[in-house]
Symmetry: C2
Subunit: 163 residues, 2 copies
Amino acid sequence: MEGANALTFMLSWVSHTDVQDRDYKFLRKAVEEVYEGVECGDGGPFGAVVVQNDQVVVSCHSMVLKNTDPTAHAEVTAIREACKKLKQTELSDCEMYASCEPCPMCFGAIHLSRIKRLVYGAKAEAAIAVGFGDFSADASRGTGFYQKAQLDIKRADSCRTGL
Amino acid sequence: MEGANALTFMLSWVSHTDVQDRDYKFLRKAVEEVYEGVECGDGGPFGAVVVQNDQVVVSCHSMVLKNTDPTAHAEVTAIREACKKLKQTELSDCEMYASCEPCPMCFGAIHLSRIKRLVYGAKAEAAIAVGFGDFSADASRGTGFYQKAQLDIKRADSCRTGL
C-alpha cells in the first residue's frame, strides 16, 4: 500500500471527529505528528505525545529512518525526549497519547517509564493492515505482559464515545 | 540488596566457567560490560554485545542513569549503537549476546532489529531476585510475544553444557 493510502487508512478513525474533550485534544496532537513524520520521511506513520499537568511536554513522531535506529518509534522517542527535558528517568506523573496501539517494545518502554495513563487511537491491526508486522497486536494483548503493567489504558474509540 | 551483592548473585552462573566455546567468549564480553557499567554507575548490572561475522560490532552496558533514559537498557543501547555504526536499520546478519534474559522492551527491540540469534546468560528471575521488577520473566515468556519472533534463542546454561 502506498504511503498516502496507508496514512488515510490509519487515520480514518479520527477523520470525522472534532476535538470534543481533553483526550481528543492531545490525541489530535499525536495525529498531527503522524502527518509531520510522514512529510519529513523521518519514519513510519506514528506519533506520540507526553502530557504532564495538562501541558504537552514533548510531541514526537517515529525517527527510525532519520536516526537509523529501529528502536526510535514515536513512543520510545517521546519517552526519551520527555525524560531528557524533565531531567528524570520516571514519568509517573505523565500520560501518553499515541496515534496507534503501541507495539510490545513501546509498551515495555511505557511500563518502564512508569507513565500512569495511555490513550491510543488506531488499533494495532490498522498498522498490520498497512504492511507493518503482526508482532504488535495479539502477540501480547491480553497476556500477563499487559496484565502486569499497572497502567490505565484507554482506546479512544469513536463508536464508544459517539464521535 | 546492595549493588555488590546483586552483582555477585547475577553473575554466579558464570563465576566458575572458562571460555570454552564461541558463545561463552562473546557472553563473557557481555559480562565484562556488566562490571564496567556498575563501576561507572551508568545504569543497572546488564551488558549486551552485537556480533557480526564473528566480530564484535559493539559492546554496551545499561546507560539508564547516565543518559536519564529508561529505555537505555544494555540491549537497546547495543542495537542503537550497532545500527549507527553499520549505517543500517536492520541487524539480520547479527547475533546478540546478553548477560541476562531481555525484558519485554528489549525483546521487542531485538525482534524489530531482525537480529537472527540471541544468547543470554542469567534468567530474568535473577534480575527479579536482586530487586528489578517482575515484568521481565513470565509476563511474556511462552506467550505469542515470544512465539512470533523468528529468532533463535539460547540460554547459556552451565548445567546443560556441563560447565
